[in-house]
């Protein structure tokens, strides 16, 4: 396979965007066909490049000008995250009708996100990730300027922090290429910066941020593509951070802290989900919930935790497409979607979360307590899910962009693909562990039939298949129960949301006390600075002269 093939997953959607734009400017909307071609070309090229050899393919060209060479690479990590990004985006672009401007921006967003996961170095990842964030802001604004958007400041701060990490690695270690950075260069403070940028890039916070808010937009066309392209990037950084540290984070405390952040995000999302007033509001918390559980698993530092986290992310990316296509009226589709979201056995979400929790116990020390917390968060999700089944649908979005059968198919697939958990781990997640945790990836056994943990074996095929068959039989044979759609009280009110609102209101209302305003009048300070007074100029000159004599 020629190394130039690495360019294809980035170049093809870019070319598609150009063609669509040219035709669009000429007044001719190529519609969903071109959008689908662009999207699925990424999936096809990733599969075509990765499956035959299943080993790293790299293309390095000349320097770009900021200390980084043009270095693109497709390895296990790129394949996994590339599929998580491209599949839901391609599906949404295929099904949902869009104006050509939105298609072009979606293609550019997909291009930037693919470039971010293909970039061979930290700086290139920062530039491509920053580009994806910029395009997402423009895409959301193009669709509806008044609807909720992510905080651009947080996204920019995240990618700037990663940029700084890249240049520190270049200055300190001579290179920022993932596979070449000396392990000693990745010190604690630098890793803290990587973790901060990852948390900012995906907004993995306990309070409600854009991964939940975007689902409340009147239309979910741009929201689906935005979450599909942006949300996995923060996790990508945390996975690559293992490669930078040769399979470990610089200190176990980082593992614990990130796992706690993940649990806090998952539990907070669960608390908000169980207090949701509508089903749409509940479904808005699904992706942050999955993200929290995935972060907890990935942050454990064990190969098992990593693969569990990756499978959870893959499930979340499938649910992104499912939720974006889900109509708001009651029916089987939302029921299956909620069942898939809360991880009803023997679904893949159930298996992956169970393995993630098992990984915490086997990671040692106090991490088991995080496993208990994860189980508690999961229980809260169960309550939220059961409650949400009977909630009113909530504010609908245009019927033209909803496809109940497709979303029901996706939800059903996640529910019946529990038995395929070991195969997915073998084909999708284990190569990532082998890439970033070479020393401990060997512990991942079990082949296509079971998932081996330290102290136990989860026989996903021989246990989940009969369970699945029995489940189908049971539901087929049971009668129907009337689900009463009613406004259901929350089990408990979540204090953090209102607390942060009060804090922000306090900050906004803060003013300089009356008696000091004459001293600290910003307007007068500005007038003095702009007044071009010679006295000020000479005083500044004297100040500079005094400074250099120190």
């Amino acid at each position: 396979m020629p190394s130039a093939a690495v360019l294809a997953p980035v170049a093809l959607p870019l070319a598609a965007a150009a063609v669509i734009a040219i035709f669009g400017l000429a007044g001719f909307n190529l519609g969903r066909i071109a959008a689908a071609a662009g999207g699925w070309s990424v999936v096809a090229t990733l599969l075509a490049i990765w499956l035959p050899v299943r080993s790293s393919l790299e293309l390095t060209l000349g320097q770009l000008g900021y200390g980084s060479a043009f270095d693109l690479r497709i390895d296990g990590v790129t394949f996994a995250f590339g599929m998580m990004i491209a599949l839901p985006a391609a599906l949404l672009l295929t099904l949902q009708p869009r104006a050509w401007q939105e298609v072009v921006l979606s293609m550019l967003g997909l291009t930037a996100a693919m470039a971010a996961v293909e970039a061979g170095g930290v700086v290139l990842t920062a530039i491509a990730g920053g580009t994806a964030a910029t395009i997402a802001m423009v895409l959301l604004d193009t669709e509806d300027p008044r609807a909720r958007r992510p905080s651009w400041g947080l996204l920019l701060a995240g990618w700037l922090a990663l940029t700084w990490v890249g240049v520190i690695l270049q200055v300190g270690g001579g290179t920022a290429v993932y596979s070449a950075v000396p392990v000693a260069t990745v010190t604690g403070p630098i890793f803290a910066l990587v973790a901060a940028s990852a948390v900012l890039a995906s907004c993995l916070f306990p309070w409600r941020t854009w991964p939940a808010e975007l689902w409340a937009r009147p239309s979910l066309r741009a929201a689906g593509v935005t979450i599909a392209t942006l949300y996995p990037l923060g996790f990508y950084l945390l996975v690559r951070a293992y490669e930078l540290g040769d399979g470990h984070y610089p200190h176990p405390l980082f593992n614990v802290l990130l796992a706690v952040i993940g649990i806090a995000a998952a539990a907070a999302a669960a608390a908000r989900a169980q207090a949701a007033a509508t089903r749409r509001e509940f479904l808005g918390e699904v992706i942050p919930g999955f993200g929290g559980f995935a972060l907890t698993a990935i942050a454990l530092g064990t190969a098992l935790g990593l693969v569990a986290g990756l499978i959870l992310l893959a499930t979340a990316s499938a649910l992104v497409a499912c939720l974006a296509l889900l109509p708001d009226r009651a029916g089987i589709a939302p029921l299956l979607t909620i069942a898939a979201a809360v991880g009803l056995p023997p679904g893949i979400a159930f298996g992956a979360r169970a393995i993630g929790i098992e990984a915490t116990f086997e990671a040692g020390d106090f991490l088991g307590l995080i496993g208990v917390a994860a189980a508690a968060a999961w229980a809260t999700w169960m309550v939220g899910g059961a409650r949400a089944i009977g909630l009113p649908g909530g504010r609908g979005h245009p019927a033209a962009e909803t496809f109940p059968r497709v979303s029901m198919l996706i939800a059903a697939l996640t529910l019946i693909s529990g038995p395929a958990l070991a195969a997915i781990q073998f084909g999708f997640a284990a190569p990532v562990a082998a890439e970033v945790m070479p020393s401990s990836a060997g512990s991942l056994g079990g082949g296509l039939a079971s998932v081996v943990t330290v102290s136990s074996v989860l026989p996903v095929v021989i246990l989940f298949v009969p369970l699945l068959v029995i489940g189908v039989a049971i539901y087929a044979s049971t009668g129907t129960s009337p689900i009463r759609t009613q406004a259901r009280p929350a089990l408990f009110k979540f204090p953090v949301g209102s607390a942060s609102g009060r804090v922000w209101a306090g900050i906004r209302a803060a003013t300089v006390p009356e008696q000091y305003r004459s001293i600290l009048s910003v307007r007068e300070l500005e007038a003095a600075a702009v007044g071009a007074s010679p006295v000020l100029w000479l005083a500044a000159l004297v100040a500079l002269a005094f400074a250099v004599t120190r």
């Binding site: 300027p145 400041g153 240049v167 702009v530 007044g531 100029w537």
Partner: protein
């Protein structure tokens, strides 16, 4: 002629061409050509003359001509800052050439920094500003048209004039003023009442980054500074001209083009501003990492102000829209692959 000054002159010629080509039909092209041409000739002269004395004389001439060209503010007010710059540069040259105690060389560095700040119109030597002034006769001519070449020339000459010790003081002062201008420019762009003044402050904020880059005295700093000057001349200045048209038509909109423009002004990826920030962070990390932390935090100040400025350019139509598109494309190209520009400037 310093190679980076040559490159900046090419940028300036391009933006003059942009202004002439993409200005709306009814705008006075002839006066724009005369003033712009004079300014361009002056900047070429500043860079081309063989000695620094001649460069200062050219600056003096430009200052007087610009002041005499008229505008909302009085002749004396318009003349002060450029002449103060000339006087301080002249005194700096004298102090740099005489033999005497070491502190005189440092005072020479002070003169060069103060002269440069006064010439460009940066804190603490802000040129008085009137929102109704035409673009060519406003301080923006100094800060975005003449200033970049002046900076390149002063920095190049300073390397020959100053001793190593004075050079260190020169760099430190530039970083200090750079941080001051970054903070002031970033916050003022966001909070000041007049949008025209906000545009002017946004130039000042960008110059803060450029001064920090120049003051870092490592090659990455100079590269970052050059890219910042590129974003000033080939990004912010053309958009300011577009804004002046939109301001005249009193249209402020929130459309995708406004957000893309805001992204470019904020130095977000993939525009040249982000590449500049990468280089500046790289240079600062080589010198003193806490400075890089301060720079990184300061870079976030651009965002709120840029969103405001992005909205203020309204919805560019036909010719202007093409101009804005070309300018954005050029910025993206420079942001993704800045190497040719850096090599042309031999940085």
């Amino acid at each position: 002629m310093p190679p980076d000054a040559t490159e900046i002159i090419v940028f300036i010629a391009l933006v003059l061409g942009f202004a002439l080509a993409f200005a709306p039909a009814q705008s006075p092209r002839r006066s724009l050509l005369v003033r712009g041409g004079t300014g361009l000739a002056g900047t070429v002269a500043i860079a081309a003359v063989p000695t620094f004395d001649l460069a200062i004389l050219v600056l003096l001439t430009l200052g007087v001509l610009h002041a005499a060209a008229g505008g909302k503010r009085a002749f004396a007010i318009r003349l002060r800052a450029p002449l103060l710059a000339v006087a301080m540069l002249a005194l700096a040259v004298v102090l740099a050439r005489v033999e005497g105690p070491v502190v005189l060389a440092r005072f020479a560095a002070v003169g060069l920094v103060a002269g440069l700040a006064a010439g460009i119109g940066l804190l603490p030597y802000l040129h008085p500003f009137d929102a109704d002034d035409a673009a060519a006769s406003s301080p923006v001519a100094w800060i975005a048209f003449i200033g970049p070449v002046l900076a390149a020339v002063v920095v190049a000459r300073a390397q020959g004039l100053l001793t190593a010790d004075a050079g260190g003081a020169f760099g430190a002062m530039l970083i200090g003023l750079g941080l001051l201008n970054m903070a002031w420019g970033g916050i003022a762009t966001w909070l000041t009442e007049s949008t025209t003044a906000a545009w002017r402050y946004s130039f000042i904020a960008d110059w803060g980054l450029a001064l920090c880059g120049i003051g870092l005295t490592v090659s990455d700093g100079r590269r970052g500074a050059l890219l910042v000057l590129l974003t000033i001349v080939l990004g912010r200045l053309p958009l300011y001209l577009v804004f002046r048209q939109a301001a005249a038509a009193k249209t402020a909109t929130e459309r995708p083009v406004n957000l893309v423009v805001a992204a470019m002004l904020a130095g977000s990826a993939p525009f040249a501003g982000f590449a500049a920030r990468v280089l500046l962070l790289r240079g600062a990390t080589q010198l003193y990492w806490p400075l890089a932390l301060v720079l990184a935090a300061g870079m976030l100040l651009w965002l709120p102000g840029s969103l405001r400025l992005g909205r203020s350019i309204g919805a560019p139509r036909r010719r202007q829209a093409l101009g804005v598109a070309l300018m954005l494309a050029a910025n993206i190209a420079a942001g993704l692959y800045p190497l040719p520009l850096l090599e042309a400037a031999r940085l």
